[in-house]
């Protein structure tokens, strides 16, 4: 294997490790739950993406076989991380915040965690 591909794979792995460590370090460093929500959902997901890119390059350049699975895992993680973060934020708001602490939604319906869903109209 040539030096360029080796350097490229090592670069992706080191960057992924640093991002993963920063994301997990934010879990113990940041003060508030809503602040802590930022670190793992963004930095750690990016770290796993870096590991997957490094792994794909490794098996493509060193082993000589192309596998599509990494892109699938990356896509799945990038799709599910915001959904999980939204659910965790809802859980925190339901347990710790009252409706009077929040600004209005400026629409017909209120916050979904405090109010029941609106009735379905007959025309639909």
């Amino acid at each position: 294997m040539d030096l360029v591909s080796e350097f490229l794979i090592s670069f992706f792995l080191v960057v992924a490790g640093i991002f993963g460590l920063v994301g997990s370090f934010g879990m113990i460093k940041l003060r508030d739950t809503m602040q802590r929500l930022h670190a793992p959902t963004k930095a750690t997901t990016l770290g796993v993406g870096g590991v997957l890119i490094g792994s794909m390059l490794y098996f493509l350049l060193v082993k000589g076989m192309f596998s599509f699975h990494e892109l699938l895992i990356t896509l799945f993680l990038f799709l599910t991380a915001p959904i999980t973060a939204n659910f965790i934020a809802k859980t925190f708001m339901q347990a710790n915040l009252h409706q009077s602490d929040l600004p209005g939604t400026e629409s017909e319906y209120g916050w979904s965690i405090y109010q029941d869903p609106p009735e379905r109209s007959e025309e639909d």
Binding site: L13, G17, G20, L21, S24, T33, T44, V51, F59, T91
Partner: protein, 89 residues
């Protein structure tokens, strides 16, 4: 050089697992614990893929795919249980 980078990345993600364990133990809220468990799942996916690179085999992709799916479903189910008191209404 790749071996050194693999060792570095494995150490970083392992240390991250320890941080998450600390947050699970001391988290003041259940939302913190759900968040730490979700981050642990993501770190374990990274560790599985790094182990697969170490061994030079692609078998571990299926395992990490399954871990990703189970982790997502379990996080959402845990949140639903805390939010509504029931998982499937």
């Amino acid at each position: 050089m790749i071996t050194a980078a693999l060792t570095f990345a494995t150490g970083c993600f392992g240390l991250g697992l320890l941080f998450n364990l600390w947050r699970i133990a001391t988290g003041p809220d259940s939302a913190d614990r759900i968040l730490a468990l979700d981050t642990m799942v993501i770190n374990i996916i990274a560790l599985l893929i790094l182990y697969g690179m170490w061994q030079g085999t692609t078998v571990y992709y299926e395992a990490s795919m399954l871990v990703a799916m189970v982790g997502f479903v379990s996080s959402v189910a845990y949140c639903r249980f805390v939010l509504r008191g029931d998982i499937i209404e």
